[in-house]
Symmetry: C3
Subunit: 116 residues, 3 copies
């Protein structure tokens, strides 16, 4: 059994694929001065790129974990989320308000997808 690992950083691979699944690491926005909605849009665009690296796409998500630093702004994140995904493709999702995501990051998203 092999694991295909893509896009190496000093501490992780952004995406691992094995046994038909693609595991994407926690993704934050590049510009953490943006408000939560804009950060979410940046994250989702990055995730599109990571999924493409594994030959899959946003229609194949099976689960998502979303960590936010301020749950009172959840609606902004949800708006970017639902603009990104057709209703029939929404995965199982958990949303959790956490203490700190580093720098000015307001949201971090982790997803798992099928490969094909």
């Amino acid at each position: 059994m092999t694991i295909a690992r893509g896009i190496r950083t000093p501490i992780m691979h952004r995406i691992d694929t094995a046994k038909g699944y693609a595991f994407v690491g926690g993704t934050i926005a590049d510009d953490t001065t943006l408000p939560m909605g804009g950060q979410t849009e940046q994250i989702l665009a990055k995730i599109d790129g990571y999924l493409a690296e594994a030959g899959t796409d946003r229609t194949k998500l099976v689960s998502a974990s979303i960590f936010v630093t301020d749950l009172s702004k959840k609606k902004e994140m949800d708006a970017a989320w639902t603009a990104w995904l057709a209703p029939e493709n929404l995965p199982a999702r958990a949303t959790v308000g956490v203490a700190d995501l580093g720098g000015g990051a307001l949201v971090e998203i982790v997803v798992t997808a099928l490969q094909a």
Copy 2:
């Protein structure tokens, strides 16, 4: 490869099944005025329903993530958890104290199960 998605909400499907796994989204209690034990019982009853939707049940859990807002009340949650699961069916589990789960939610649970 197909993903079967069940119980759509505006932002997620409560349960996705694919390749023999069932992924359940983050679940909180309906009555968030209850103490942590009572909230946990409500969550576990909801998860029973979601798992049934995918033709599986609580004996088939492979992993669980439990987010709580007050770790000092963890024993209450654990009591509801161990009342729900026979010892031989306890899955791998992580418990994390987080800043905020929205409204009065004191606990949120995410599980993954085998389908059959």
Copy 3:
């Protein structure tokens, strides 16, 4: 379909295996008086043991979630992490700063691996 469960505690099995995957529960250090780097080293040694129980090892990780109580000390955790894993074996990873991990725990790690 069977699930093999290993190392039972009162609230979980430390490791579940099913369909070629090994799911390891959230792991904290035994000595929570250590600084974040030392706690991380203890956790990774414990994870080595859990993975061995399932006939797999640290080269087969597909994803990791790392919860820390003080993100300003993340570099200490990262140093232990990258000392433990060869660059080519780094999995997809999420790191999240949370409110509380219980006792003096500064870091908790959850991993999923392929079995073989």
